[in-house]
Symmetry: D2
Subunit: 147 residues, 4 copies
């Protein structure tokens, strides 16, 4: 694994610059090598027409969790770019809190494949609501922070 | 085609109830049978860490455009639910305006496949930035409006 | 879980009627509730241009493993149909044997989501080469066998 | 566009070395810049359990059509590798002939996105049966032929 000790700081700094994460009320909950967790609370501002959380908001935190999971294993001075993802929605996005847990499936020099499971928490119980698989590209000349 | 004359009103009403669309500043630009267009303007509130528009915001309008394109062909009293989508990002989401054009590829009774092309407009020119393919489920008991 | 005791026999019978599985030399290696394993041996007849196993052959066994994993949890008298899948190829398909392990992620009445990990075995070691996620539809009126 | 005059010969030569294409009876029907067509005839050897053509066989020709469409725009001395694809099946794969038409959506230096529409021909009529979107990687050191 190529991550240096500063990967947590770099991920936190990058996350803070993602305007969308602030806009939808998402927070960075966990970072470890190859694993990143992002959460948000369902509310009117991120809803779809039936009152559930919008698939786009779920996708946004699931994509960011996958991207940062990939970044956690990359060398200093590199950045990440999502080239594509696919997401299946298996249950309505409701509950008290929505948690996206991204983990690296296969880290590569150019491309990394990561997968995010998204859970809805309700009354202390967790339920799988979505599954995302993403291909993330290492971007050599675009560091996530001025490092 | 099963759409009734009221499909435009039903789509507009449903769109207005999508809190996320308002939150990210998206607007419904065009509705015709099997085709729906949604746009937004890049800004800090929907950005990712490099200053481009976040993949999650692009996905959100692309998904909604696909879903409403599907809804435009459905009978009165039914609703739509995205079961899954896949999106490829082929160029950075920058420019003055981002436009998602959804169209139905195959309308089915239970499942409809729709595709959205997302373009970035800049100085009067359009550039393809993303391609989404979605499977949308007809939800019989959950109308988009009280109709 | 809705599977009856006869699900193994029904899956074996269905597999035997898949002409493509015989053509590419695939065999059914394991069946348990929600989990199915299919394997094949790399050879010239299923190769791509660089001598590796063709992505199409890898996809075929991965798709069948996902579909039968779904079928293993379905009631007697129903069949399965893949409505869509996505597959990421993370390493070349080489080695002595290729094994696709499908498992159900979420079983639903109409739609089931299943995931297949594909491994290449070489000298007693396993390496992940592909990851498939599929949406499988329950087909009520089309049993897998005359049951 | 970077293709040289020899791209047709290179694609034909590469296709002939794909053992799987011969095994499933596929033929290369058309090559032009950014567009490639591959066809096959439904038969017992490529069937699934209900008698239709197996999703894996449909995926195989759709993937190859996308890959060769990408290769048609690449410089001499490079090869292609599918990194991922997603395919939606929108109608049963039946009929007299199945034709996969791949075309490049966005050609890039490292990654190319291509899309394949698959049609079933029956009694002189064509019907869309599947839609594939693939990400294809340029492989610099692995030419498709000894060129």
């Amino acid at each position: 694994m190529a991550q240096d000790d500063g990967y947590r700081a770099r991920i936190r700094s990058s996350f803070e610059r993602q305007g969308l994460m602030r806009t939808i009320g998402a927070s960075l909950e966990h970072i470890s090598p190859g694993v990143v967790e992002i959460a948000m609370r369902p509310n009117r501002a991120i809803s779809q027409q039936h009152g559930f959380t919008h698939a786009g908001a779920v996708s946004a935190i699931a994509d960011s969790a996958a991207g940062y999971a990939a970044l956690s294993l990359m060398p200093h001075g590199t950045g990440v770019l999502t080239t594509e993802f696919k997401i299946n929605f298996v249950a309505p996005a409701t509950g008290d809190r929505i948690v996206a847990r991204g983990r690296v499936v296969k880290a590569g020099r150019t491309l990394t494949v990561a997968q995010t499971e998204v859970f809805a928490e309700s009354g202390g119980e967790e339920k799988l609501i979505a599954l995302l698989v993403a291909t993330i590209m290492t971007v050599a000349g675009r560091a996530e922070v001025n490092d």
